[in-house]
Symmetry: C2
Subunit: 256 residues, 2 copies
């Protein structure tokens, strides 16, 4: 892989995980920006790279700029950045935003989307994270491919439409399942039961579908049409109207 | 632990996993019954223990009988078993059924509930599975405690009411999350995307809450009030009315 110089804009959860991975694998992280002055200097010094909390100071002429900012900030930050760096290769890392968000500001743009929940501080094996890439031109596509392969064993070309669908499903298997964990924890807390009782079940449920098809892994009262148990559960859940609603809809969906 | 002799009734998913664990840890598995003649002989021979596919042939006078049959069969099998063995220590392994289900048939009864999704053939570390025990008398309670500790590091005294709540929450974090995986897979299949793209996210979502509180792990558009993304998702999901319903209810519940 030809060595490139990368500027990373944003050091939130995803940004800081990406910075760490790029740095550790010597993939050309050259400059970082975050508005938080202290964070900028702490990360920049540790990695011995250029850092700034002033976007207008970000170096021009780098090979690639990665916007790791929240979806709602992409347009604004891209506009500011364009004034500083002029035309350049720019990508964002969002699952939800179209690559076209960048089109008004740069001729060469794309997406570099690591499909994972990236939490600051958590140790993540980047090489197992699927990276979805897209670009509006071949040279950038090939640059992103090299970069993604340097980070992960799982690289996919995914266009805007496909990525939008992936993002919906990611919300389902991540945000919604985590919310089910939360609702369950609300109940265990209320009933003076330890949430630890459920942790091995949670992990095994996710582990099972690493190889199996989720359909083949499905068990439980709704899957086997056990109305007696479903009714008993719903009666208990009357004291949790919100959870009862969730229970009803998922049970109905399961019974289909 | 005083050596005991155990009769195991039923070799379905949970029963056969339990048989394997009891056998491997030399915890006194003495006889197994399943209606399936071939399965009875295959497991009985492999473990070199008494086996039968005729419930009336199950040996009398064992220290403990474990009913590993489906919830709906407990009463019927208990009634038949009582005719054969007379009075004895009998437990079932169900999360949903009350221990009292056994009261009409035996003086000494209880529950031995491994809180895990037990799939035949899958290798499971029994020592990490929480085992919830309950008995209507102290000697049986103490016998179940010894037995559970022989299998697992996580043993809990859980009464009928508590176990009923646990079962509701188990359905939520296991059956419902798995169903969300299935719905996501339906979409990825339809859109010619590989479900492998979501597998690392699924595993990380479950891994995160092994130490964290699920509330602290919550991310996503609904948690941050990102209406634009939610609306975009709902527009896409119009072609999946059933999934849209699930999406709406979980998003509403998350926003609370």
């Amino acid at each position: 892989m030809k060595p490139i110089k990368i500027g990373l804009i944003g050091l939130g959860n995803a940004g800081s995980q990406l910075a760490r991975a790029l740095h550790r694998k010597h993939l050309g992280l050259h400059a970082v920006f975050t508005r938080d002055e202290q964070k900028a200097s702490s990360i920049g010094r540790r990695m011995r790279i250029f850092y700034t909390h002033d976007l207008s100071a970000i170096p021009k002429g780098l090979d690639l700029y990665i916007l790791a900012v929240s979806d709602s900030a992409i347009t604004e930050v891209a506009a500011q950045l364009a004034k500083v760096i002029g035309d350049a290769n720019v990508v964002h890392i969002s699952g939800a935003a179209s690559s076209k968000t960048l089109a008004p500001f740069f001729k060469s743009y794309g997406v570099f989307y690591p499909l994972q929940t990236l939490t600051k501080g958590r140790k993540i094996k980047f090489k197992e994270i699927p990276i979805c890439i897209e670009a509006n031109n071949e040279p950038l596509k090939s640059m992103l491919l090299d970069l993604a392969r340097g980070l992960s064993e799982k690289v996919y070309f995914i266009n805007d439409e496909e990525r939008a669908w992936l993002h919906v499903t990611a919300v389902m298997v991540n945000n919604f399942t985590n919310h089910l964990y939360s609702l369950a924890e609300k109940i265990t807390n209320d009933k003076d039961l330890s949430f630890d009782l459920l942790r091995p079940l949670i992990l095994e449920t996710a582990s099972k579908v690493q190889k199996m098809d989720p359909k083949d892994a499905q068990t439980g009262p709704a899957a086997r049409g056990d109305q007696k148990t479903i009714e008993a559960h719903m009666e208990k859940l009357e004291q949790y109207p919100d959870i009862l609603k969730v229970y009803e809809v998922l049970t109905k969906s399961l019974e289909k």
